[in-house]
Symmetry: C2
Subunit: 172 residues, 2 copies
């Protein structure tokens, strides 16, 4: 009953292109976050679904950032960042931080404060993780940024914004 | 309008315990996957939401695994693994691979085959990523396993299983 056999389904790929991979990834719901760094004069941020829990001791998250992204320079030598997890219905915030708007324009949406590190915290987020950057590890086209959580702001009641099958979905 | 100020919301933590972190993470929907390795005689697998896209060139994913988990030994020296993303309604598969059942018992649920690497592929998954392990990086209590995708099996029509607010949710 549990023997392994060759998969004979039609829809398999044994040579995986970038497009095949993106098509595969579209089947994985991704929670939408705005990742920010900097302070009042040089704040920067981008929309990311590539955020992942690593450990609860010490509380550790990671986020992946394309080294070719225009926002990369702002993170390259940063000491801290905030992962702001969006609430249901915050599609507009996701769009502006995932689009071409210049940094000051992005931060005209939402209410922004600070918590521990001084990096921008979105007051309307479902939850925000204020982090010290522990390490940046280069993997293929991206840096995997490993972060220790030093402050949390969480709404008492919130939903979630999920990107799935190339569209937004609201949970909660 | 975009000035940063100290966040004055009630629900903030400036000293983050493991429990605070878990409470924060419960607000992030996590897609449920079964991560497998080995071949017929020594197959092993566990349930994971800590899976994340890294790059599409080459197609690269990562998964985090607790070094204290009983399944860790099976992955420690593995050359390949499969990330099997569950379809809506596959709560039972998630539960058995996330519970205490011994490995052979886990694989009595579902239909298992192989694709490129020989590691176990779940035929009923929404999508399965067959991967070569590129690197394992130790971070706090966990290893971050970096994987290059060499085969994909994808259902034509599938939903997704999401863990959120400490419960299962079905998408699609």
């Amino acid at each position: 009953m549990s023997a392994l056999k060759e998969v004979t389904l039609d829809n398999t790929k044994q040579c995986v292109s970038s497009e095949d991979f993106k098509q595969g990834m579209s089947a994985l719901p991704g929670t939408v976050n705005i990742v920010t760094t900097g302070s009042e004069q040089n704040k920067a941020g981008f929309t990311a679904t590539a955020v992942c829990s690593v450990s609860d001791n010490p509380p550790t998250l990671l986020v992946c950032l394309n080294r070719g992204a225009s926002v990369y320079k702002a993170f390259e030598n940063a000491k801290s960042l905030v992962i702001n997890t969006l609430d249901a219905g915050q599609d507009n915030l996701s769009n502006i931080f995932g689009g071409k708007a210049v940094m000051p324009e992005r931060f005209t949406q939402g209410t922004w404060g600070t918590l521990v590190t001084g990096a921008p915290v979105l007051e309307e987020s479902a939850v925000s993780f204020d982090c010290n950057i522990v390490e940046m590890k280069s993997v293929a086209t991206h840096d995997v940024i490993i972060c220790e959580v030093v402050g949390i702001k969480q709404k008492e009641q919130a939903g979630a914004l999920v990107y799935y099958q190339r569209a937004y979905h609201h949970l909660g």
